[in-house]
């Protein structure tokens, strides 16, 4: 018994002791990881880790370090979406947030409790150059917290331009025109899907409702305010129209057959290649089309979701994300962080880099950075609406209330499971719960 194991004994013990020593050694080494910066101020800059964001951030940092040799910037990334939201809150709660970080604007920002966790930037010089629509999304009663990064984007209908030219169709100004166009397409070109829906990715289902807000705001400028106060409802006109449109495209048989399972990328491909005519979507789909159908990027145009009355038809604008400084950053790091924020927001270098990397999705919200030529067709179309002043910010930027179940309800209405009136009432109920959680008065 003993001899059988005897010859391996010493070796085994040696291994075990060695492993234990390594373990202890690593724990000790882990403790002593300190920072050393020689003279220059070192700050960190956090961006969500999608490929284009990282690429432009890297170029931005090298341009910034050239302009400000006394400041060194360390790039950090973290996941987007739910994990990113939770991680951001955790970092802010534990004082571990990077010195400058990119995050959403509007209602998601309010959830960060900005008055306690972020640094007020209202005295910065760039503020006067930024559009008020944007500033409203990064403000509370006590301060202004974010500087714009990236471009805005529009919501409405993306359409296939060659198909419209082939059939001699006009861009519709009213909802009835839109339905008439779709029916013409169904009649003349039976192989083409008139209206795409891609419920394989649930968030896409909300577009017909969210993009209808531009028209609602034109028709009734005080709607969003009364909605926040609990007076205006989705179950009443004009906001009910969004749900009605969703039901109508389904009931009229204008949708693709596989609307329940089609994915966003597949829908964009069909649209770009002429297999479909309309897709209610955001213009930030441009980079995906540029990657997957580069030759057809300019075959995809944009028009605002048509209202019942042509004079109310307006594009709905989503505001870009912003850069923030957490209140845990102080002293010379804070000064350096403010310099970086100013550089990201208003320097000509940053403007050039932004237009150079990736694909533009819409106009910039700062007047020092106009759109260059050579932007995708859909962005040009969107710019026309903005120039004509027929554009309104999306509801999520003018009201803190957004029910978490909108996508599910939209899918039910869009699949014919629920009627428009029923769906709108269900969403009002969803909104009521959210408003009560936020502690708003009047609910």
């Amino acid at each position: 018994m003993f001899t059988a194991h005897g010859h391996g004994r010493g070796l085994r013990r040696g291994l075990a002791v060695g492993a234990a020593a390594t373990l202890v050694g690593s724990l000790v080494a882990g403790c002593s990881g300190g920072a050393d910066s020689g003279g220059a101020v070192e700050i960190s800059y956090l961006v969500p880790n999608d490929a284009t964001g990282v690429e432009s951030a890297e170029r931005l940092i090298s341009a910034f370090e050239e302009a400000h040799p006394d400041i060194a910037v360390d790039l950090q990334t973290q996941p987007d979406g739910t994990e990113g939201d939770n991680l951001t809150k955790t970092k802010l709660a534990t004082g571990e947030m990077e010195d400058v970080f990119v995050y959403n604007t509007g209602s998601l920002l309010q959830a960060l409790n900005p008055d306690q966790t972020l640094t007020d930037l209202s005295d910065e010089e760039w503020v006067s150059h930024v559009s008020d629509d944007f500033l409203d999304t990064v403000r509370t009663d006590q301060g202004l917290y974010g500087a714009p990064t990236g471009s805005s984007f529009g919501g409405g209908i993306l359409y296939n331009v060659p198909l419209y030219e082939e059939l001699g169709l006009e861009v519709p100004e009213t909802w009835d025109d839109f339905v008439a166009n779709s029916e013409t397409i169904a009649r003349e070109r039976p192989d083409v899907t008139p209206v795409l829906q891609a419920y394989g990715e649930t968030w896409t289902a909300q577009m017909l409702i969210l993009a209808a807000h531009g028209s609602v705001a034109q028709e009734d400028p005080g709607w969003a305010e009364r909605f926040t106060a609990g007076e205006a409802k989705f179950a009443q006109e004009p906001a009910l129209a969004g749900f009605e449109h969703l039901q109508e495209v389904h009931d009229a048989g204008l949708l693709n057959e596989d609307f329940a399972s089609l994915t966003h990328d597949q829908a964009l491909r069909q649209l770009a290649e002429g297999g479909a005519a309309h897709y209610p979507m955001l213009t930030n789909a441009a980079p995906a089309i540029a990657q997957n159908n580069p030759d057809e990027l300019d075959d995809v145009g944009f028009f605002a979701l048509p209202a019942a009355d042509a004079e109310h038809t307006a594009a709905t604008i989503w505001q870009p994300g912003a850069v923030y400084i957490p209140s845990s950053t102080t002293g010379e790091e804070l000064e350096a962080a403010k310099t970086l924020v100013e550089f990201i927001t208003s320097s000509p270098e940053a403007c050039a880099i932004a237009q150079d990397t990736g694909v533009a999705t819409g106009p910039y919200v700062i007047d020092t950075c106009p759109l260059e030529d050579g932007v995708p067709r859909m962005v040009e179309d969107l710019q026309t609406y903005v120039d004509e002043d027929r554009a309104e910010p999306a509801l999520e930027f003018v009201s803190p209330v957004k029910g978490p179940n909108l996508e599910n309800i939209a899918i039910e209405v869009g699949s014919g499971i629920r009627s428009a009136a029923d769906g709108a009432a269900a969403y009002d109920e969803d909104v009521r719960k959210q408003a009560q959680q936020l502690g708003l008065s009047g609910w």
């Binding site: 085994r12 234990a20 880790n49 990328d265 990657q291």
Partner: protein
């Protein structure tokens, strides 16, 4: 007799077909998508690539952001080795002592082990503790967390296995003059081999695949682990499925190799000691 053999063969073939569908088809999908160009991959179809871009994708993933994927492999490897080593050492000792020596401490230890299985981790307080110990954002801190979450399960396995080792063996060794330390290292540990392999494989895969632990307790790009790199290639409006699946393929290989080589021991170790509690 003949029909019985035929039926057995039919069951065998059926089992093979099912395992092919369940395991090999998804794997083939990963390999095929990892070989496509970005526009081709965005269709997410089960088809041969139009152009084979396997090498291009591999180079792009590996060289992305100064080799963050390679750095992540090093971090994950160090994290996994250290955590699993600590778990095996501690759990073997605890399992042996609590099984052999009955005392008033046993109920306390049992409660703690159960609590370790039941109590969910709370992120922010854990971060506070790590900050105070100056272990936050260090690999050592995350090793301690992984060990904490995995230890209970390991202790249960070890204790069940030690019960199958006859007490007479301990007594014989003690009569021959072995002290407690020598008894444990030279007698018991070699006999624990099957369960050690099980624990190593099961926990190595769990630690290697952990996503939320590194996400919350080890932020920072220089600390990235492999599961976190997956997020480099997907976003809400733009997905690079070819690179994403290449990354998945790279990450799948180490656990796969582990299972292929140790498959038999894992099953043996899991069932060993299952009869005697």
């Amino acid at each position: 007799m003949r029909t019985l053999r035929l039926r057995r063969a039919a069951y065998g073939v059926l089992a093979i077909v099912v395992s092919v569908v369940v395991f090999l088809v998804p794997f083939a999908f990963i390999v095929l998508t990892a070989s496509k160009t970005a526009p081709d991959a965005s269709q997410l179809e089960f088809s041969l690539p139009q152009d084979w871009a396997f090498l291009d994708n591999l180079v792009e993933v590996v060289s992305y952001r100064d080799g963050i994927v390679l750095r992540a492999f090093v971090n994950s490897a160090v994290l996994t080795v250290l955590s699993v080593t600590a778990m095996v050492l501690l759990a073997a000792m605890v399992g042996y002592v609590t099984q052999r020596r009955r005392s008033w401490l046993n109920p306390v230890v049992d409660t703690m082990v159960l609590a370790g299985l039941i109590v969910p981790p709370a992120v922010v307080p854990t971060v506070w503790v790590l900050q105070r110990l100056e272990l936050f954002k260090t690999l050592g801190g995350l090793v301690l967390i992984e060990v904490t979450f995995g230890l209970s399960f390991c202790i249960l396995l070890f204790r069940a296995f030690v019960a199958t080792i006859p007490r007479e063996l301990d007594e014989a060794a003690i009569l021959d003059g072995a002290g407690p330390v020598r008894l444990f290292w030279t007698m018991i540990v070699p006999l624990l081999r099957p369960v050690i392999i099980t624990v190593v494989v099961v926990q190595a895969v769990a630690v290697f695949n952990d996503f939320t632990g590194p996400l919350y307790f080890l932020p920072g790009d220089e600390n990235a682990t492999v599961q976190l790199t997956l997020y480099n290639f997907q976003g809400q409006s733009l997905n690079q499925y070819n690179l994403l699946f290449m990354d998945i393929l790279l990450i799948t290989i180490p656990p796969l190799v582990l299972y292929v080589f140790f498959n038999r021991q894992i099953v043996a170790g899991m069932t060993n000691g299952a009869l005697k509690g």
